[in-house]
């Protein structure tokens, strides 16, 4: 391994300490602990989303429902709910809704709207009405007056029959003719001494007598026929009279009670109309109240759930009775179709599923009607039929309860089609951004129903003012969760952690849930330490513990490097080899680790081979980064010569996929090193992507990458020369761990901001990259000059080879 050249001209200097970490500035807030701070709830740093929510909740037109998107853990629901609570309280309570029986078509229950809070009174009034009638009606029908009139009707009927039959019997008797009952009717026969004349005896009678008897019977048969034909008419007449009497009696008993029940609802026409329908039905079906005899017939009603009197009851679907003023805010966590649009329940009676209007149950849309319905978009999409039902309901502008089991053929029993209920609700869907963008791309109806997008920010700009706001948010979280107060230093560390979470020293994360978790864990540490106030050390302990709990994979990865299973040098130099850095994120925990990148070159057809891509381990972005290297070479060196290079690049000991272009600068350094045969320092690690002009571009996860290499170096012993080259654009993102900063402060580790490939290669090789002189050539001893010379040499070899008639079959 080559020694580090000491004569190199290095222009890139290590970053100053103040660029590695930006401490919190709480100078705008005077407080000792969070108990002194006025807490903040709701939307912090979300002006864009707040404006959208404000607009979306106030605009009244259909389709202007809200789709709220943002990062996981931003607690969008809580923030939006807090905003809605204030708005909801200013609006009048929506109306109550009930379902009542449809007496003409029981399968289509009738929906009635009542002023807020009146449904319970209506239900009570109807219940009491029926309760009273259950005792009042039988009493009226058992009264002497009724029984007398009823008896008179029955008696008149009986008398008519009796008189007719008595007359017939008398007439027959005078002629010794008897009336007999046969199994199917009546017959007339000659009788003598209390029995029918036996046939043998009849045969002995003189012909004249037999003829006379037959003639008499023939005459009497006509009379009998006439009477028997009259009976159904008399019976009908009797039934009509009884029915009319029952109607009159029932009306007399019912009228007063109905009028009393109606008195409280004269202002609601729909209710009074229904009560009138009940009156008519009661009069027609009074037998239900009166006939409790043992002779009761088993009919269809026997299969109906509940009692026959249930038909007069009121099913309260939604009531505002007992609710706070204002419109409802309903959050449905399990938006199945039934939970969303309501459902029709069934009862099993004798093995048959039956239902009625009382088994119609409200859904979240009913409960939220007039107010706000909060739904998680992913949950809605995961439930069969819910998403389409929600859109259909919003388009119809009314809630129609659909029995899904019928659609999919699970039941074939008779069901209900309740009246649809007009819908006036503001639906607020919550989801992550990907879900929203996918829906927007694939569901053309999304825009029709969710016209207002509220996009929550992941972070906000970090200024003393915003830090003060976040400190109050911390106070709010601590207060709401019953945590100990946090002292000033602890709050400062929480804010600094918020910046780290934002991956930016100049920003603060707004992912409130992540902050809340840290606060709770810090409170736990303070409790263990028997402190009344959470100190900075508690926050540090909590953060360290969080990492410790999640870092098993990181530790194993570092272990294999330290055990030289994975080959990573942290000292010396090597041609065509460089330490790249990658970030792995598993289960919400991200860590960096170094990866050896190597390059081999030889004459060829101008191709830079990305081995990762060849074996399909490289993703498209990574491949793009490698192809950019060809562009860089083509634009920088030997412009007058065909590119005659074959180079292969590989991430050594990488057995999983590689994606991203953050290692493209490292790959270029390895390529240049290989071409120039210039050894590169192995005590440095590199991250950053590169463009075709050689400019180093920003990458993600810079803190984790630096810390990943630092951990390996520290474990092996810091040499004082070790460090990491990062894109200059990433300096603003640095919020490094305290131990890294301490090492930098001690001069045993360094972070180098690099803007160009020339800066980086100079630092890594210890040699100036070299600039083209006025003659257009790089200085021969510069690294660029050596690269160009090598490329020209490759071209020359190739030309010679072609001239000698060699067939170019190389790569």
């Amino acid at each position: 391994m080559d020694a580090i050249p000491e004569t190199a001209e290095i222009t890139v200097k290590p970053l100053a300490l103040d660029r590695l970490y930006r401490p919190a500035d709480l100078s705008r807030l005077a407080f000792a602990t969070t108990a002194d701070l006025e807490p903040i709830d709701g939307l912090v740093g979300q002006a864009r989303a707040a404006e959208a929510i404000d607009f979306g909740t106030r605009v009244e037109h259909p389709g202007f429902n809200l789709f709220v998107i943002g990062p996981q853990g931003a607690r969008m629901q809580d923030a939006v709910k807090a905003l809605l609570v204030a708005q909801a309280a200013t609006k009048p309570r929506p109306n109550d809704w009930v379902y009542v029986n449809n007496f003409t078509d029981p399968e289509r229950p009738i929906a009635i709207e009542l002023p807020p809070g009146r449904a319970r009174a209506f239900q009570q009034a109807m219940h009491e009405l029926i309760d009273d009638l259950q005792s009042a009606l039988p009493a009226v029908f058992q009264s002497e007056d009724y029984q007398t009139r009823r008896g008179a009707i029955d008696e008149a009927f009986q008398r008519k029959q009796a008189e007719a039959f008595a007359a017939l019997r008398e007439k027959a008797g005078t002629q010794d003719i008897g009336i007999l009952r046969t199994p199917l009717g009546f017959a007339l026969a000659p009788v003598k001494e209390g029995q029918v004349v036996p046939p043998d005896e009849f045969a002995t009678w003189p012909e004249a007598r037999r003829q006379a008897v037959q003639a008499a019977i023939a005459t009497l048969e006509k009379d009998l026929e006439h009477i028997v034909h009259q009976i159904p008419k008399w019976e009908k007449q009797r039934r009509d009279e009884v029915r009319e009497l029952n109607r009159e009696t029932a009306k007399f008993a019912v009228d007063q009670q109905i009028d009393e029940a109606k008195a409280d609802f004269t202002d609601i026409a729909r209710v009074t109309r229904h009560i009138e329908t009940v009156r008519a039905d009661l009069v027609e079906n009074v037998a239900m109240f009166v006939a409790k005899g043992e002779e009761g017939e088993e009919g269809v009603d026997e299969l109906r759930p509940g009692t026959p009197f249930d038909r007069y009851e009121v099913n309260i679907l939604v009531t505002q009775d007992g609710r706070e003023p204002g419109v409802p805010i309903i959050e449905e966590l399990h938006p199945t179709l039934g939970n969303l649009i309501g459902r029709i329940e069934y009862l099993s009676r004798r093995g048959v599923l039956t239902t009625n209007f009382r088994l119609v149950k409200a859904g979240a849309l009913h409960r939220a009607n007039g107010g706000y319905l909060l739904l998680d978009a992913r949950a809605v999409l995961m439930e069969p039929f819910s998403w389409t039902a929600l859109k259909r309901t919003l388009r119809r502008g009314e809630i129609a309860i659909e029995d899904i089991s019928r659609f999919i053929g699970l039941t074939s029993t008779a069901s209900l089609e309740p009246d649809p209920i007009p819908l006036k609700v503001k639906v607020v869907l919550f989801g992550d951004r990907l879900l929203y963008f996918l829906l927007a791309a694939y569901d053309p109806e999304l825009g029709e129903h969710f016209k207002v997008l509220a996009d929550f920010e992941n972070d906000l700009a970090r200024t003393p003012e915003t830090e003060a706001i976040l400190a109050r948010l911390v106070a709010g979280i601590a207060g709401r969760n019953g945590l100990r107060p946090f002292d000033r230093d602890a709050v400062a560390l929480v804010l600094e952690h918020a910046a780290r979470l934002a991956d930016h020293a100049g920003k603060l994360s707004l992912v409130v849930e992540q902050l809340r978790e840290v606060l709770i864990e810090a409170d736990f540490c303070a409790r263990d330490a028997a402190r009344e106030v959470v100190a900075r050390s508690d926050v540090e302990s909590a953060l360290a513990a969080r990492i410790r709990r999640a870092a098993r994979i990181r530790d194993r990865a570092q272990e294999v490097i330290l055990e030289k299973v994975a080959l990573i040098d942290t000292a010396g130099t090597h041609v065509g080899q460089v330490n790249g850095l990658s970030v792995t994120e598993l289960g919400g925990f991200a860590f960096g680790r170094p990866t050896r990148i190597t390059c081999r070159v030889r004459p060829g057809s101008g191709k830079v081979v990305d081995i990762e891509r060849e074996v399909e381990l490289g993703g498209p972005v990574h491949s793009k980064g490698v192809l950019i290297l060809s562009g860089f070479l083509a634009g920088h060196y030997a412009l007058d010569t065909p590119m005659s290079l074959f180079a292969s690049l590989v991430f050594e000991q990488s057995y999983a996929g590689v994606e991203g272009d953050s290692a493209s600068s490292a790959e270029l350094y390895a390529l240049l090193s290989a071409l120039a045969e210039a050894p590169l320092r192995q005590d440095l690690a590199v991250t950053g992507s590169v463009n075709q002009h050689g400019a180093i571009q920003a990458i993600g996860g810079v803190n984790e990458k630096i810390e990943g290499f630092f951990d390996i170096c520290r474990a092996r012993g810091l040499t004082g020369t070790q460090g990491v080259l990062i894109p200059e654009a990433n300096v603003q993102h640095l919020m490094l761990r305290a131990d890294v900063i301490a090492a930098c402060e001690a001069g045993s580790f360094a972070i180098y901001p690099v803007a160009t490939i020339d800066d980086g290669i100079a630092l890594l090789s210890g040699r100036a990259a070299g600039r083209r002189a006025t003659d257009g050539r790089y200085p021969p001893d510069s690294l660029n000059g050596q690269v160009e010379a090598r490329l020209r040499a490759f071209a020359s070899i190739r030309r010679d080879f072609a001239r000698q008639g060699g067939k170019d079959t190389g790569p």
Binding site: F165, P183, L184, P198, V228
Partner: protein, 289 residues
């Protein structure tokens, strides 16, 4: 006095194709209360067979069909079917006291069948038809006449029974009217109150009550109508109106059959009509009670 003091041994229930539940229950309950046998009697009416054998015989079918010839074979089949149906019905009714129940098919005219079957110690149940058309048939008339002429007591059952609980009423035409004893036995067995309606001249609070009333703890109430009571049915009906009666017991002779039928019909409760006590038995009564 023993439980058999009432002198009954058997209830004879004529089974028709359709016997109302309450009537069936009444017969079974009474048999149970008084520890009696129950005879289910199906009458294979020969008067119908005789009629069917006449060349001009035909029937008017009430449920449509008009006049149809009476075919003796069809009639026989229908009667056989009805007999089997009656037997099944009786078996169901008799489940509570299977050992004491017997079913019998008796062939003959209604009159001869009852005369042949009923005897002293029987209670013949006569179910009053609900329809006047049935009531005015000769068969019912013959049946009813035969029952009243027989040595058996007759239980007149109205088409609809208003009550199954309440006092047992004895309508006594004389201080020693046997209906008082019978009603007392039934009241004791049924644990009901006994109401004695006194329709005779000796009525009054001073008249003695049967000793068993005290022995059995039967509560006895007296309603006095005076000597006119037996003749004045309106007076009797007025008295009965005021009592939520379960069963009325009276003695044939003091009241004619029409009165008993009218009471059963008006009060909608069963009326048990007893045979008058033979003169010699009446004289022994004081000693046995």
């Amino acid at each position: 006095m023993t439980m058999a003091a009432h002198g009954f041994k058997r209830i004879v229930l004529r089974l028709q194709p359709r016997v109302p539940d309450r009537t069936a229950r009444l017969a079974v309950e009474l048999a149970e209360l008084l520890d009696l046998d129950l005879l289910g009697l199906f009458l294979d009416d020969t008067s119908l067979r005789d009629l069917a054998s006449l060349p001009f015989a035909r029937e008017l079918r009430t449920l449509g069909g008009g006049w149809q010839p009476l075919d003796i074979e069809r009639l026989s089949r229908e009667l056989d079917t009805a007999a089997r149906s009656a037997e099944r019905l009786f078996a169901e009714m008799a489940q509570r006291i299977p050992a004491r129940c017997r079913f019998e098919v008796v062939r003959g005219s209604p009159r001869t069948a009852i005369e042949a079957t009923s005897r002293v110690g029987d209670i013949v149940v006569i179910l009053e038809p609900g329809s006047p058309s049935e009531r005015f048939t000769d068969q019912f008339s013959w049946l009813s006449d035969a029952a009243f002429r027989s040595a058996a007591a007759v239980l007149l059952v109205p088409p609809r029974i208003a009550r199954t609980i309440g006092p047992i009423v004895a309508v006594a035409a004389a201080p020693d009217d046997p209906c008082i004893d019978t009603a007392l036995v039934i009241a004791a067995a049924a644990k009901e109150e006994l109401v004695v309606i006194e329709a005779h001249a000796d009525a009054g609070p001073g008249a003695p009550l049967p000793a068993m009333a005290t022995e059995r703890g039967v509560r006895v109430r007296r309603v006095s109508l005076g000597p006119a009571g037996a003749a004045n049915t309106a007076l009797l009906a007025g008295a009965l109106e005021r009592i939520p009666v379960r069963l009325i017991v009276l003695t044939q002779g003091a009241f004619d059959r029409a009165v008993a039928t009218a009471i059963a019909s008006a009060q909608q409760v069963p009326v048990l009509v007893l045979e008058p006590r033979p003169p010699d038995a009446a004289s022994e009564r004081a000693a046995s009670l």
